[in-house]
C-alpha cells in the first residue's frame, strides 16, 4: 500500500477544477437540468455556424490583406468607377437581413405561417441580390473591364464573386428551411432543431450582409 499520507480530506468526486465553463454539459450548469435536453443538443447548429463563420472571415481577411498589399506594391492601380447597380444590390441585401430577422422572430410565436412567408421573401431578395451582381459584372464587361484588366478589377471580380458563391450557399440554406417549414412539428427535439437551424442560417445571412457592406466599402471607399 502506498505510504503517502494525504493531508487532504478524501471525497468521492474530484471536481475537474479550473473555471466553471457554463454550458449544457452537466456539472455546474444551472440553466439546464439533464445533460442531453433537446435545447442544448440543438445548440450545436448555432455553435457550428459561428465556428464556420470564423473560417469564412479568415479567408476574406486574407484576400483583403492581399488587396491592401497589392494596391501599395506598384503604380498600376486604376480604381474602377462604382457600378450604380451595386447600390440596388446593397439595398436588396439589407432588406433581406430585415426580412430574415422577421422570420426568425415569428418562429418564436408560430412554427409556420408567417415564418414561412418571411423566409420566402428573404429568398426572393437574396436572389435579387445575385441578379443585381450579375448585372454589375456584365456592365463592366461591356466596358471592357475584365478579371485581368487591372489589379482593382481583379479584386473586384474575385471578392464579389467569392461573396456571391457564399451567398448562394446561404440561399440554399434558406430554401431548405422554407421547404422544411411546411412540416408540422410536435416533438420538442425537432422544434428545438428548427429554431436552432433558423438561428444558424440567420447568423450566416447577417454575416453575408455585413461582409457585403465591408467589401463594398473596401472596394470603393478605400482606394
Amino acid at each position: 500500500m502506498a505510504t503517502m499520507v494525504s493531508t487532504r480530506p478524501l471525497t468521492k468526486t474530484s471536481p475537474g477544477g479550473g473555471p466553471k465553463i457554463p454550458g449544457p454539459n452537466g456539472n455546474g450548469s444551472k440553466r439546464r437540468g439533464d445533460f442531453r435536453d433537446p435545447e442544448s443538443h440543438a445548440n450545436r447548429y448555432r455553435i457550428g455556424m459561428w465556428v464556420g463563420l470564423a473560417s469564412v472571415a479568415m479567408m476574406f481577411t486574407s484576400l483583403s490583406s492581399a488587396y491592401i498589399v497589392r494596391s501599395a506594391s506598384s503604380n498600376d492601380w486604376v480604381s474602377l468607377p462604382l457600378p450604380k447597380v451595386l447600390l440596388a444590390s446593397t439595398a436588396l441585401i439589407l432588406g433581406s437581413s430585415v426580412t430574415i430577422e422577421m422570420a426568425r422572430r415569428k418562429l418564436k410565436t408560430a412554427l409556420s405561417g408567417p415564418y414561412a412567408k418571411w423566409l420566402f421573401v428573404t429568398v426572393l431578395l437574396g436572389a435579387g441580390f445575385v441578379v443585381a451582381q450579375v448585372f454589375a459584372w456584365r456592365q463592366l464587361a461591356r466596358q471592357g473591364i475584365y478579371l485581368a484588366s487591372n489589379p482593382h478589377s481583379s479584386f473586384f471580380y474575385l471578392l464579389t464573386g467569392a461573396h456571391a458563391v457564399h451567398l448562394f450557399g446561404g440561399l440554399l440554406g434558406l430554401s431548405f428551411l422554407w421547404l422544411r417549414s411546411h412540416r408540422k412539428l410536435t416533438e420538442p427535439a425537432l422544434i428545438a432543431k428548427r429554431k436552432a437551424a433558423t438561428d444558424a442560417v440567420s447568423i450566416y445571412w447577417h454575416f453575408m450582409d455585413a461582409l457585403w457592406i465591408y467589401l463594398f466599402l473596401l472596394l470603393f471607399l478605400w482606394r
Binding site: M1, A2, M4, V5, S6, R8, L10, T11, K12, T13, S14, P15, G16, G17, G18, K20, I21, G23, P24, N25, G26, N27, D34, F35, R36, D37, P38, S40, H41, N43, R44, I47, G48, V51, G52, A54, S55, V56, M58, M59, F60, T61, S62, L63, S65, A66, V69, R70, S73, S74, N75, D76, W77, L147, A148, P151, S154, L158, A162, A189
Partner: protein, 626 residues
C-alpha cells in the same frame, strides 16, 4: 460501477457494406478511413524520398528500373534535375498534407475525441463523412498531378482544359517545393519543366484539401464545446482532447488563408491576373506582354505569396505536432502509472503554442526582402514560442519521475517522441534568430530541424497512438516483439538520418539541389550523404514491418479485453471495439480527472474517470499542490 443516463438521439446502426465501410457517418469508420489514407500516402512519400536519396548519393548512376518506369524523367536510368525537384515537391506536399494533417487529427482525433468526451458521435456526422471524401478527392488530385506531368499522353490530354493545364514534362509532378514560391509557380510553362498542368493540379488539390480540413475543424470544435457528457468539464478532458481542439482552431483560422492565396495563384496561372507576378519580367527569352505564351503582367508582389503561404504554413506545423504531443502526454501517464505532471501548465502550453504560432510566420522570410524591422519582431516572438515547448518537455520528464514505467511499444514510441522533439525543437533556437538565419537559410539545417520535429517526432506520436489504441479499435493487440524491432531500428535510424544533416547545413549544403557535384565546398560532405542514404534505406525498409504488424494483427493478433492497458479514460470503459453509438445507449457520467493513477488508498493503481465509488484527494487534483 458507473452511473449512466440515456442518450438523446438514436439512429439505428447501418447495414450493408457501403453504408458501414464506405459512405459511413460513423466517426470511428471515418477515423479509420483517414488513417488508411495516411498509410497509403506515406508509402508514396517514402518512396519519393528514397529516390531523392539515391540521386543525391549516386547522381550519375543508371538505375534500370527508373529507365523503365520514367523514360523521360530518368533517361537511361539517370534522374534528371527536374525529376528530382518534382520528387522534392511532391514528397513535401504529400507528407505534410496527406499524412501529417490527416492521421493525427482526422484519423485518431475523429475516432477518439467523441469517445473520450463521452459523446455518441461528432456533432455533424454527415459533414464528417463529407470532410473525409473531400480530402480523398484532394488526394486523387495530387496523384493526378504526378500523371499529368509524368505521362506525355495524359499531359497532352489535359491541355484541353486550357494552355496552362498542359503537362507531360516527364517529371513526377510540379516543381516548386511544397512552398510553391511565386513567380516560379505562377508563370506557367515558360518558367521551365514541371510548371504546367501539374502545378495547376497542385494548387487545386491543396484548395480542395483546405475545404476538407475546414469542415473537419468545424466539427471538432463544435463537438467538444457542445457534446461533452455529464461531469466532463474542460479541465477533466484528456490532454489528447485539448490537443485536438487547439489543432482544430489552428486549422480553422489558417487553412482559409492558404485557400485565399491558392485562389490568387490559380488566377495568376489561368486568368492572366498579376497578384504575384511583377511587370517587366524576361523569362526563357520572352519579355512580359510580347508573346501569347507570356501575357502582360504588372505590379504583382512575389513576397505577398510568401506572407499568405506562411501565415498558414506556420500554424500548419503546429497542427502536425500538437496531436502527437497530446498522445504522448496521455500515453506517458498511462504507462508511468502516474498523473500527468502539471496538467494545467500543459493546457496553457498548448494554448500558448497555438496562439504564438500565428505570430511567427515571418521567420520563414527573414531574407525574403520584407521589412527588416518586422524580421526583428518575428525573431523575438519565434524564440519565445520555444518556452511553452520547453515547459511541455519538462512536464513530460516530470510525468516519468516517480513512476512505475511499463515499457510497452506504445510507451517506447512516446518516450522516443520526447527525445526526438527535443532534438528537433532545440535547433529552432538557431534558426529563429534573424542574424543566424543569414548563413543558415535554405541550407540542410532547415530540413534537419523540421524533419526531426514534423517528420519524426510527429510520426512517433502516431506510432505511439497506433500501438496504444489498436486494441480498442480492432479488438486485438499488435505484436509486441515486432513492435520493439520497429521501434529500435526506427529510433536509431531517424537519428542517423537527420543529425548529420545539421553539420551538412553548417558547412553550407543548400536545399533543393539535385546533386552536389558542382561546388568544391561541398565535396567533403560526400561520406555523410552516403551514410544518411544508407540509414534512410534501412529505416524505410523497417516500416514495412509496421505495416505487416498492423494488417496481420487486425485478423490474427492476440485478442484484447476492454482495457488491456489499465487506462483511465472513457474509451477504455466501453466495449472493444466500441458499438456504433459508442456506449450502447447509456452515456457515462464522469467523476474524476483523466489521469488518476497511483491514487493513495484506491483499490487499484488506476481510477477510471467513471469510477463513482472511489475516493480521490479533493481540491481539483490539477492544482499542483500535491
Amino acid at each position: 460501477m458507473s452511473e449512466t443516463h440515456e442518450g438523446v438521439h438514436r439512429h439505428p446502426a447501418p447495414t450493408g457494406f457501403i453504408r458501414k465501410y464506405i459512405f459511413s457517418i460513423d466517426h470511428k469508420v471515418i477515423g479509420i478511413q483517414y488513417i488508411m489514407l495516411a498509410l497509403a500516402a506515406v508509402v508514396v512519400g517514402m518512396l519519393m524520398s528514397l529516390l531523392m536519396r539515391l540521386k543525391l548519393s549516386w547522381p550519375d548512376h543508371k538505375w534500370a528500373i527508373l529507365a523503365w518506369l520514367f523514360p523521360t524523367g530518368a533517361p537511361d536510368g539517370v534522374m534528371n534535375p527536374e525529376f528530382y525537384l518534382s520528387l522534392v515537391t511532391m514528397h513535401g506536399t504529400i507528407m505534410v498534407f496527406f499524412v501529417l494533417t490527416t492521421a493525427p487529427q482526422g484519423g485518431f482525433g475523429n475516432y477518439f475525441l467523441p469517445i473520450q468526451i463521452g459523446a455518441e458521435d461528432m456533432a455533424f456526422p454527415y459533414l464528417n463523412m463529407l470532410s473525409f471524401w473531400v480530402t480523398f478527392v484532394g488526394f486523387i488530385a495530387i496523384l493526378l498531378a504526378i500523371f499529368v506531368e509524368g505521362n506525355h499522353a495524359i499531359g497532352e490530354w489535359f491541355a484541353a482544359l486550357g494552355p496552362s493545364f498542359a503537362g507531360g514534362s516527364g517529371t513526377v509532378g510540379p516543381i516548386g517545393g511544397w512552398t510553391g514560391y511565386a513567380p516560379l509557380s505562377a508563370l506557367g510553362k515558360i518558367a521551365g519543366p514541371g510548371q504546367g498542368g501539374g502545378m495547376n493540379l497542385w494548387v487545386i488539390s491543396i484548395a480542395i484539401f483546405c475545404v476538407g480540413s475546414l469542415l473537419g475543424a468545424l466539427n471538432f470544435i463544435t463537438t467538444l464545446l457542445n457534446m461533452r457528457t455529464k461531469g466532463m468539464t474542460l479541465m477533466r478532458m484528456p490532454l489528447t482532447c485539448w490537443a485536438w481542439f487547439t489543432t482544430a482552431v489552428l486549422a480553422l483560422l489558417s487553412f482559409p488563408v492558404l485557400l485565399g492565396g491558392g485562389i490568387l495563384l490559380l488566377l495568376d496561372r489561368i486568368a492572366g491576373t498579376s497578384f504575384f507576378i511583377p511587370g517587366g519580367l524576361y523569362v526563357s527569352g520572352l519579355l512580359s506582354g510580347t508573346n501569347p505564351n507570356f501575357p502582360l503582367h504588372t505590379g504583382g508582389s512575389p513576397i505577398l505569396w510568401q506572407h499568405l503561404f506562411w501565415f498558414f504554413g506556420h500554424p500548419e506545423v503546429y497542427i502536425a505536432i500538437l496531436p502527437g504531443m497530446g498522445a504522448t502526454s496521455h500515453i506517458l501517464a498511462t504507462f508511468a502509472r502516474k498523473p500527468v505532471f502539471g496538467y494545467r501548465a500543459m493546457v496553457f502550453a498548448i494554448f500558448a503554442i497555438g496562439l504564438l504560432g500565428f505570430f511567427v510566420w515571418g521567420h520563414h522570410m527573414f531574407i525574403s526582402g520584407m521589412s527588416p524591422y518586422s524580421a526583428i519582431a518575428f525573431s523575438v516572438l519565434t524564440l519565445s514560442i520555444g518556452v511553452p515547448s520547453a515547459v511541455k518537455t519538462f512536464n513530460w520528464i516530470g510525468t516519468l519521475w516517480g513512476g512505475r514505467i511499463r515499457f510497452t511499444t506504445a510507451m517506447l514510441f512516446a518516450i522516443g517522441f520526447v527525445s526526438l522533439f527535443v532534438a528537433g525543437g532545440i535547433t529552432g533556437l538557431i534558426l529563429g534568430q534573424s542574424s543566424l538565419d543569414l548563413p543558415m537559410h535554405d541550407t540542410y539545417i532547415v530540413p534537419a530541424h523540421f524533419h526531426l520535429v514534423m517528420g519524426v517526432a510527429s510520426i512517433f506520436g502516431m506510432f505511439a497512438a497506433t500501438y496504444f489504441w489498436f486494441p480498442k479499435m480492432f479488438g486485438r493487440l499488435m505484436n509486441e516483439k515486432i513492435g520493439r524491432i520497429h521501434f529500435w531500428i526506427t529510433f536509431l535510424g531517424v537519428y542517423s538520418i537527420f543529425v548529420p544533416m545539421h553539420v551538412m547545413g553548417l558547412q553550407g549544403m543548400p536545399r533543393r539541389y539535385s546533386q552536389f557535384t558542382e561546388y568544391e565546398f561541398l565535396q567533403t560532405l560526400h561520406p555523410l550523404v552516403i551514410f544518411v542514404s544508407i540509414a534512410a534505406i534501412i529505416t524505410i525498409a523497417v516500416q514495412f514491418l509496421f505495416y505487416f504488424n498492423v494488417f496481420w494483427s487486425m485478423f490474427k493478433g492476440e485478442k484484447a479485453g476492454d482495457n488491456p492497458w489499465e487506462a483511465t479514460t472513457l474509451e477504455w470503459n466501453t466495449a472493444t471495439p466500441p458499438p456504433h453509438d459508442n456506449f450502447a445507449g447509456v452515456l457515462p457520467t464522469v467523476y474524476h480527472g483523466p489521469y488518476e493513477f497511483a491514487v493513495p488508498d484506491a483499490p487499484r493503481d488506476y481510477v477510471m474517470q467513471t469510477d463513482v465509488d472511489v475516493e480521490v484527494p479533493s481540491g481539483n487534483g490539477h492544482d499542483g499542490k500535491h
